[in-house]
Structures are given as structure tokens and as C-alpha cells.
Symmetry: C2
Subunit: 680 residues, 2 copies
């Protein structure tokens, strides 16, 4: 046999004697470069009128020529016989402020290339491809103009290819496998990816780090990354219950297909590409969207000491909730989540979800009284809408439920779509309820409907078992957080629980998409008969490492009562930042992040490692010049190890430091470190 | 980071506290073993009622526990909450004769296990899984009984998994990529497969050879092998233009999911598993199905010296066809294929196919006169029905076209579906024409419609750009051959042309599915401005290596006139065999096959190699005892090399041999050897 040749892995051009030659020669018809010139995109048309794009990074090929186009269910595919109708380039540079976020001010600087194509055939259909080339990556999307030849686009599949120029290591979770994102990350060769959800993060053999994702997933199906062969990938759209995976009328555009590019792993995390590719805030004044910390009736269910269902173990009782409100008020937390408050948890809710009421509390839960009691103390109940993915049933009650929340001063809700009956039950335009994928077009529409209906009532949304985040928080700042990954609850009953590397992986994969409500802070380090794969100091570090504008203190109040000294960090740590910087890190190994409080001069640092203990030297060059800081250090003890009871061992100490000082962060196996730098 | 663990690659059980644990414990509820005990299959039900199967080979795990089930578009998935309703085992042993084939008599011996499952839920739906465990592999299929709870199965996806126990090397072509099968084979690690068409052939690290395929693809979508992660794969069904990939009413069963298992690569080729899993002949007397050799007006078009279209270069003229009929008659060939005989090739047929008439010849083609002229000489015209995949248009004319052929004594047709407009244009039950995949349910129905309509008229079918072969020739013996791989025409204009290893790969991959009309015998070794990657002796060997009951002598008569000595082998070689045996071979490297003529005592041998020259020692233990044979040897010369003009160098010599004698087959780089053993 012959050694395998990537050249042979290129997708064959449709070949038939006398019809066209193979492969077809191609001509570059348009190019664009990033402002700093490090990234260049070129668009080719071959002599069959097939468009393709290619990308160079720092003078080396990153993406080899890759196909573009669509399969349609009811018309010839949009893929060949195109001519260049026009091209236009545009340089853009702005800075914009996040109402809340990991940094206040973001620069959005790119060169845009718009390539308009028209079919030579009698059909004469038109599509445009718009590239935005930033210094930290690029995005492109298809734009469909209003046209008689394509009044409705019934998209069977997107033909977009990502034909990498080299192999490398990839961190990814499988798509099309199960209806959610709750996996530990695979670490394999790029050429060993099966079919992955995005973000898919890679460290290529040349050392360049890239992450494939999409931005602004609106009224479209999520893109999966399908491995074709070698290091060639193609977009595959999440399925639909209809003949077409996506149906759009008139003029529309697809989400942005994005590739973040960085020399370092940390550079991917510091990048704002996904946010920049999204549209600006359309909600106007969003000062009512409040970052906050919260506690809640939640961890007890996962420990199986309390229940969602009514009865002796019912967690959502008036008395129990009062206890959480008091604890929140005493410790400066704004929110109290109460799951199992509403009728419907006693039936086989998991199989269907039609049992749920989103307005009727269980008799032992005085929602009116508790809301008022909390508000007197500055504590807001957080609404909980578990739907079991019966979207049709939920949408029937959605407005009434949000009206109730609004009236009671409940200004944020946690939604849930935990189900596996075969998908989300969504009512179609014809009134028929069908199963849809968690990340298909119907789901994208539903999630945005909840967010916009909530916004009308000044309510924030934190979606669990959600569609993936694609940066829509910029456009809809009340979409404050989501789950969408293997979270803390797996440490209660998961087999296996989350290993130490999981949270490090999250920083470089899931977190590139946006805030995650991971619910850290289980300082007891105890699950349901199994310990957390963590140390106490690491639990604190997670508040800095895993960004979210809302952060839970997930443990039970009675557990926190035993460890009030380390709990102090959870009380202190903000959830809204003026700036964030990754100081160091390798995917799946370790990471250190520094963030500056948006409401004070204080800085915070979080560091975490995988199952290997290590010492990380950091220079405090992020601190403001001329200031002295008291570093309140929460670290692992010398004997701490996540594999033994020493996981509980921690040291709290203070040091006076200034900009430029060096610190050696000693992290235990499975450990971490959290530091508050109090400015004087 | 932690070393990647396959254990973590197991698909997560739907996990939610209090709902069920993860992973769920499983109990074996049924088992079956092959007659020789080498292969054992076990079926488990976990404590959530999820069925799975696992396979051991010679006491070692081959397939780890793998899921079973279906996603439906309009009902909860068939995947969990099952109980064992019943199980039954049955031992089967028969021998049956092929009307034509690579061997006359086939033994079909297996142990069958039928596992009937019923849902515990109120739905109470039932499915059965039937395993047939042979000594050379196994197959399983799902059986849906008639039931009120599932009157119509709208299958969104099949959840069948193939969770291999070890890695290895795989030979495969990508699926879902392009609407056909015409690729060079990838050779990668099993864990580097993307999404593959079957057959997918693997040599596992332990040395065991396996090939994944399916048998009896009837009224269902083709199964693609989707790489999930690690060495875990799942079935993915070819898409449909409808909401469901497959729609079936009442009682039905799926195709057999088959895995051939052998210690040697050759064992896969000698296996009759795919045929055995198919139903017996339903056509009754099929003595009218004639194996044959043929020539035709074809290669000239691929050389671009002739055209399908009318005009100066039109190949399908009365005079030119007469020339082929005379050549066929003179050289004992039964068939003459004439492409471009019918009206429609002058329009943009490639874009649509609605231009074709299947009954009206071009004015310069006297179909009536030529048919009669041929029949007088014992030569039959072969009908050609190129549809450009416009199935709706073809089906409108199908019966009239077949009636015409029948009337003219045209008793076999070559169909064609060469198109790339977005799929096959098929008219749905609602009368609307939609794009369907080349291997979806609609295509499976169309191909069988052509075969059965042809059978009514005693016409044989040779489908090009077809749906893949799944052994249906057993049930419909008039379905004599197909293309469905990268054939000889790529040597005319392909870039690259087929490298030597390609034909060796075909023997161990595509050919496992069934006969291929590869159209060998281009002794001129000249394509359109590029030489074939072959030697003369190799072209002869292909008639033995690539089995088909119909074989073309693909070169031009004027080319054969220059090399009548080697052409003698093409005149002699049969296309119907009493027996076939792979003497040796490694996938992609080399192979030697011996076949015995079904109509004489003669044996034939073919050997081929990749780009490396090699000497293969064979013992003639296949020859009949007590007989002396004159071995007519067609071999490469000492200086032959496919990369130079020496590719034309060949030696023809004879030797007297007997059973047990040894021969050293010296194969040139890219070369081969063909031997006829004439019994005395």
C-alpha cells in the first residue's frame, strides 16, 4: 500500500468525462487581512464556479481551500456555477462597554470582506459570504438577499468545510450523540474527532491554538463539526423534525462560523471575538440586569437528602426557604433559588413535563410571603422553570409565569430542559407537537422567545440544559448565564465525578462560548457518598476561573457554617469585572486568571491544576502601579491532596504586595488557589 | 491533564439525580454462539431497560456493550424502559446454489437469537432484535411487529452502536460527503474514521479482520458508520427529504447490520455472509439471466474522441455499432453496450436529466436494425438508461423503455445516475418531486422498482452510480452488477487516476458488497493524455480479481487488434464460477485469487500488487487431484514497471502443472499476473 496522503483526502469534484475536469482549477477573486496582517482570508472560485475560502496565519496555511454552500431539499444545491457579482471591503474599529461582564470595555476592530455571488445558470440565485477578520480570529456568515428565485430557503445541509492545514491535539465533546452537552472532554488527535459540538479547541502541531465555534445562533440550527477525513471537517446542522434542517423566508443570514486563533491557550480566553461578532444590545437600558451571588434549595436534592417532589423530603418549604433567605441576607447574597417550589414534580415529570405548573406553588411553599420577606432583606427569590423539555407546555404558561415573577419581584429565572424522551417537544406552526433537537432551529427560537418575553418584564434568564451559548448576551444582556456542560451536580452522583482536569478543560472550551452557571463553592467537598475531586482552595478559585455574572454558593448553609473562614472569599468575590487576564495556562493542565473588580480597585486571582500538583510562578504585573495591596491568600496546605481527606486542608494568610512582585502559587494535586488583592 | 481513557468515551446514560444512576448496571438476558463457538453475542438490559449487545470472538471482546434503539420524529424514542418479553434460539443449516456467481454452492449455517422487547411504560411498544451468528461473522436486524401503539414508524435516526474493543487500521470512504461512492480509499487508524460508507474494512491491532456492512437494504435508508469517539461508532441513516429518514407502516424489519470476522484478509472475501443474510431468490426460474462479456461504445467518450451527444463525434452511430457487434461476434462476446444512443444528450442533461428519452434513438442510430443484426450473430445490444438521477422523469418512461428493450431482444440494461444537482429527483406520494440522497429510502425503493420491472420482462440490470450493493442479487438474480466505486473511467481523466493499490483495496472493501462492473481490460494502457497506473498482465488479472457475472472488455477494438495475444485471455476467461478461493493477500498490498470455471474443469488465477513489485509463492493445491493442466501464464516481463513505458512489457508462456506444484508469481510494480489452467 501507499502511505496515506492528505492530498487524496480532498473532497472530489463531481467528475464525469466531458462534463468537467477534476480537480477544477481555482482563481482567487477576493482577499482580506486582519488589521495587524497576521490573518489573511482568500476566496476562490474554481472553473466550475465553486466558491471556497482559505486562511493563512502569520504567513503559514491554517485553513486549506475549503468548500462553501448549501444543500436544499426542494431546489438544486447552492454550490457551483457561481460568478463573482461584487466584492467590497470595509475597515471597522470601535470600542463598546459591556453592561456587565469579564471586562468593561471591548475593542471591536476588524476588516470586513463581502463577496456577492450569483449563479450563471437560469436560476440566477444569489448569496453573499461576509468575512470579518480580526487580529484574534475571524468569522464568516452567508447572507441570503430577498429574491424571487429563492423565496424560501429549505436548507437540507450546510456544505461549509473547515479543511485544516495540519494535525494537532483537540479537546471536544461528541455531538448528535445525546441531546445535551454534559460530557467530560475528549482529548485526542484532531484527526480522531468524531462529530463534535462547538466550541472545539485545538492546539495544532505548530503550536497555534484555535477554537471553532459560531456566533449569534438566531433562528437557525446549531452547527456541529463533522470529521470527514484526515484533518478535514464540515459543518453539519442539528436535525429538525421537518424535511429541512433550517427553513427561512426572504432575506436572512446564517450565524457566524468563527475560528479564534492564538499563539497561547490563554489568548483564546482573553479573546472577545464571539461577543464582537454579535449585534449590539437591542434592549436599551439594562441597568435592571444585576450580577449577583445566590444560594438555594438545590444541593440537598442532589445529595438526595431533600426532594423536588412534595412529601417528607420536600425541600421547597416555607420554613426551609426562610432559612436560605436569612443566610443570603446575612452574607450579602442577592438571590435565593428554590427548586421544587411548583406543582408537577410528583408525577412522571421526567417522561413528559406536562405535569408542571409554572404559576402554582406547592401548598407548603408560601411564594407570596417569602417573596415579600426576602425583598424586605434585599433578597430576591429566583424563579425556577423546569420544563422537562416540554416546550409546548411551557410556552402555554410562559407569559403568565413571567407576569407572576414580575409581580413578586422575582427578577431572574433559572429555566431547565432536562429530558431525554427523544428531544424537546415543540409545537409547530401547524399546531402539531413534535420532537426537536436541543440545539435545532426550533430550540433556538424558543430560547430567544423566553429571553425576549423575560426582558419585557425586566427579568434575567439563566438557562440550564440549554442551547449552546453563542455570545447573544451582547444583544440580549438579560441572558446572563447558562449551564450547557457537565456541572457541579455530577460531583454529587456522577460516575465518574468531574475529575480535576474537567474544570481546567472548561476554561479553554465551554467558557469560550460565554458565562456558565457551574455552581461552585461546595466547601464540604462531599457528594452523595462520594467526595468531590477537589480541594477547598480550588472551590474558591473556581469563582475566578469560571466566569459568570451570577454565581451560586452551592453548598448547604449548615455546611458553610462549619467553614466560615474560607467562606469569606465567597462573600468577597465579585461577579462583575472591569478587566480579566489569563496569566498562564495549558488546556487540561492548569490555568491562572486575574480579574479586577468593576466596583473597587481590588483584584482577584484564581489558579487551578489537574490531578498533578504544581508550582506556578506569577508576576503581579496586572496590579495598578503605585498601589499597595493586601493579598488575602486562600491556598492548599503542604499536605493537601484531592485523593485523600487532606483535600480539606487549606491555609489562609495575608501578604503585602505591589505591582511587579512575584508569587509562587503552590497547587496541590487537584488543587487551586484564590487570592483577593485589597487595594489600600 | 489525564491520559485519555476509552472508559470515558462510553456514551453517558441520561443522568439526573433521583431519576437514575449513571452508568446503569446491566444484566445479560440472552446469548447466542456461532456453530463453531468462535463468536458469541450477548444481549443485556440495564436497570433503566436499555438494551445493548456485545460480541466476543475466540474468547476475546470484539464489540463492547453497544446501544440499540431508534429516535422517532413523532413519538418518544425506542431506547429504554424495555423488558424482555421473550427470547428464542434456532439452529439453521442449509446449502443453496447460486444461479450464477463466484461459487456454485453456498452453505448457510448459523444460530439465530430472537430477543423480543416490550416497553414497561403505558406505551407498551414492542420491537424484536434478531441475531444470526455464523462462523464467519454475524448480522442483526430490528423487527417491528404490527401494533396499535406504533402503526407507523417515523424513524428520525437509528441509535445502533458499534463499540469496538480495540483500535486498528481501517480502509474506508467518506459518507455524507458527496452523493456517490467514487473515492480512493482512506487508510487510517480506526479511531481516525470520520463518517464512512459501508463496507468499512478493518484490521484490528490483535490481527482480527472485520468488515462492517449491511445486508438486504430494502425500503430503508442506507446505514453510514458515524465515528463517535475513540473506537466507538454508531449507525447514521442516509437523509431523506421528509421529516423522518425512514417511514414504514405496520410490520417491517430493518436491513441486517453485518460484521464479517476473519483471521485473514482473504477470509473476508471468501465469506458468503452478506448473501446468506439475504432472502432466497423470489424470481423463480432465472435461467434467462446470462453471465457474459461485452464490449461497447464507451471508452471513446472517456478519451473524448467520441461523444454521447449527437454530431461529428457521436459514438452511437449505426456504422460504429456494427463494428462493435462484429468484433463481439468474432471474439465470443455476448453483449454490446452503446451509450449516447438515445435523444437527450445535447441539452444540459447533466443539470437536470429531463432531456432524456429512453425510447427514442438518435436518427443516426438504427436500433431496430442493429438489434436484429446482432441477434443473427448471437450478440445482444445492452440497453443504456442514463437518468442524470432524474428518477421521476425516468420512472415516467421506465415501463415503455423496458418494453422496447424486451421487444428488441435487449435482455440487459445499464442504468446510470450520474448527477450532482443535490441528489436524486424523486416524485413523492404527494406528486411533488424532491431531492433525495443516492442511498436513502426513496433510492432503495427506486432501484428495486427498476429491478422488479426489468425481471417481469426477463431483463438483467447493471446499475451505475447506484445505491450500494447489499447482496440483493440472491433475492433478485437479475440484478447482476453495479458500479458504486471509483472505476476504470478515472484512469481516462481522473486526477489522480486509480493508483495500483486502489484495485487491491477494492477486493477487500467494495467487492465484499457484491459484483462490480469495473470495466477492466484496457490493454492499450492509455487514458486521455495519461497512462493507466497498470501493466498489461495486471489488466488481465483484474478479470479474476474483481468478480462480476458481466465483464466488459473496455478498450477500443482497434486497440485490441494490436495486442491479440494477451487479448486471448480476455476471450478465454469465464464470468461464472464453480468455486473461488483467495490464496493470499493483504489489504491494499497484494492479493491472489483462484477461481474454477463453472462450465469446464479449467481453473483461473489472478494476482495483483500495489506500487511495489513482489514475488508471491503459491501452491497449486486448489487444482483437481489426478489431473494435468496446461498453465497459460500471462505475466509481467522482468523489466516491467507501471511508471514507465515498460508497463506494456509482458510475457506469455505455458507450463505443465499438477495439484501441489508451486509457482512463483513475479509481479512488477503496479503489476499482476493472470493464468488459465487448462485441464487435460
Amino acid at each position: 500500500m501507499r502511505a496515506f496522503s492528505w492530498a487524496l483526502a480532498l473532497s472530489p469534484v463531481m467528475s464525469f468525462a466531458g462534463v468537467l475536469a477534476s480537480p477544477a482549477a481555482a482563481e482567487t477573486v477576493a482577499t482580506a487581512a486582519s488589521p495587524d496582517g497576521s490573518i489573511t482570508v482568500s476566496v476562490d472560485l474554481d472553473n466550475d464556479g465553486r466558491p471556497s475560502y482559505a486562511v493563512m496565519h502569520k504567513g503559514k496555511p491554517l485553513i486549506a481551500p475549503s468548500r462553501l454552500g448549501f444543500l436544499l431539499t426542494d431546489a438544486p444545491k447552492l454550490e457551483r456555477n457561481f460568478t463573482l457579482a461584487s466584492q467590497a471591503t470595509n475597515a471597522f474599529d470601535e470600542t463598546w462597554d459591556q453592561p456587565w461582564g469579564e471586562r468593561k470595555t471591548i475593542r471591536n476592530r476588524y476588516n470586513e470582506l463581502k463577496v456577492a455571488l450569483k449563479e450563471k445558470t437560469t436560476l440566477g440565485r444569489q448569496i453573499s459570504i461576509v468575512f470579518r477578520v480580526h487580529d484574534d480570529g475571524f468569522g464568516f456568515r452567508y447572507v441570503f438577499p430577498q429574491q424571487d428565485a429563492l423565496k424560501t430557503a429549505n436548507i437540507a445541509e450546510e456544505l461549509t468545510e473547515f479543511n485544516l492545514a495540519e494535525n494537532g491535539t483537540a479537546w471536544w465533546i461528541p455531538a448528535g450523540e445525546w441531546n445535551r452537552y454534559e460530557y467530560l472532554y475528549n482529548r485526542t488527535k484532531v484527526s480522531e474527532i468524531g462529530r463534535a459540538h462547538t466550541p472545539v479547541t485545538m492546539k495544532l502541531d505548530s503550536g497555534t491554538h484555535v477554537s471553532f465555534h459560531e456566533a449569534a445562533l438566531v433562528d437557525y440550527s446549531a452547527m456541529w463539526l463533522q470529521h470527514v477525513e484526515g484533518v478535514r471537517f464540515k459543518a453539519t446542522l442539528s436535525p429538525s423534525s421537518g424535511p429541512a434542517k433550517v427553513v427561512r423566508n426572504g432575506a436572512f443570514h446564517t450565524p457566524w462560523r468563527s475560528i479564534q486563533i492564538s499563539d497561547t491557550a490563554g489568548g483564546l480566553v482573553d479573546s472577545s471575538l464571539i461577543l464582537n461578532l454579535n449585534d449590539p444590545n437591542v434592549l436599551g437600558d439594562v441597568s435592571w440586569v444585576k450580577p449577583y451571588k445566590y444560594v438555594g434549595v438545590w444541593w440537598g436534592m442532589h445529595l438526595d437528602t431533600e426532594s423536588w417532589a412534595s412529601g417528607a423530603k420536600h425541600g421547597a418549604t416555607t420554613a426551609n426557604t426562610k432559612r436560605y433567605i436569612d443566610f443570603a441576607a446575612k452574607n450579602g447574597m442577592r438571590g435565593v433559588l428554590v427548586e421544587g417550589w411548583n406543582k408537577g414534580w410528583d408525577g412522571d415529570w421526567f417522561a413528559d413535563g406536562s405535569t408542571f405548573s409554572f404559576t402554582q406553588p406547592y401548598p407548603d411553599f408560601d411564594i407570596e410571603g417569602l417573596s415579600a420577606y426576602g425583598l424586605k432583606k434585599g433578597v430576591h427569590l429566583i424563579g425556577h422553570h423546569e420544563t422537562s423539555a416540554n416546550v409546548a407546555h411551557y410556552e402555554d404558561q410562559l407569559e403568565a409565569a413571567l407576569d407572576l415573577d414580575r409581580r413578586l419581584g422575582i427578577d431572574s429565572i433559572k429555566t431547565g430542559y432536562v429530558a431525554d424522551a427523544g428531544g424537546m417537544k415543540v409545537r409547530g406552526a401547524d399546531g402539531v407537537v413534535r420532537f426537536e433537537w436541543h440545539d435545532g432551529q426550533a430550540s433556538a427560537r424558543h430560547h430567544l422567545k423566553v429571553v425576549t418575553e423575560a426582558a419585557k418584564r425586566r427579568i434575567a434568564v439563566n438557562a440550564h440544559e440549554p442551547i449552546k451559548d453563542t455570545g447573544l448576551r451582547r444583544t440580549y444582556p438579560n441572558w446572563v448565564a447558562r449551564e450547557g456542560a457537565r456541572g457541579m451536580e455530577y460531583n454529587a452522583w456522577g460516575s465518574p465525578p468531574n475529575p480535576p482536569e474537567h474544570e481546567i478543560n472548561l476554561v479553554f472550551t465551554r467558557m469560550l462560548a460565554g458565562p456558565m452557571d457551574y455552581t461552585p463553592g461546595v466547601l464540604s467537598l462531599e457528594g452523595r457518598g462520594q467526595p468531590l475531586q477537589s480541594t477547598v482552595a480550588r472551590q474558591l478559585a473556581l469563582y475566578v476561573l469560571l466566569y459568570s455574572p451570577i454565581q451560586m454558593a452551592a453548598d448547604l448553609p449548615e455546611n458553610y457554617a462549619k467553614v466560615m473562614k474560607p467562606f469569606q472569599f465567597i462573600k468577597d468575590v465579585p461577579t462583575d469585572w472591569a478587566d480579566s487576564r489569563v496569566l498562564n495556562g495549558e488546556i487540561g493542565d492548569y490555568v491562572t486568571i486575574a480579574r479586577k473588580d468593576r466596583n473597587s480597585a481590588d483584584w482577584y486571582l484564581g489558579a487551578g491544576t489537574d490531578e498533578n500538583g504544581r508550582t506556578i510562578d506569577v508576576t503581579l504585573d496586572f496590579l495598578d502601579a503605585g498601589k499597595t495591596y493586601t493579598a488575602q491568600i486562600y491556598r492548599d496546605a503542604d499536605d493537601t491532596d484531592y485523593r485523600t481527606d487532606t483535600r480539606h486542608h487549606h491555609v489562609i494568610e495575608t501578604r503585602q504586595v505591589r505591582r511587579g512582585d512575584r508569587l509562587s502559587l503552590v497547587l496541590a494535586p487537584g488543587g487551586g488557589q484564590a487570592i483577593r488583592f485589597v487595594a489600600r
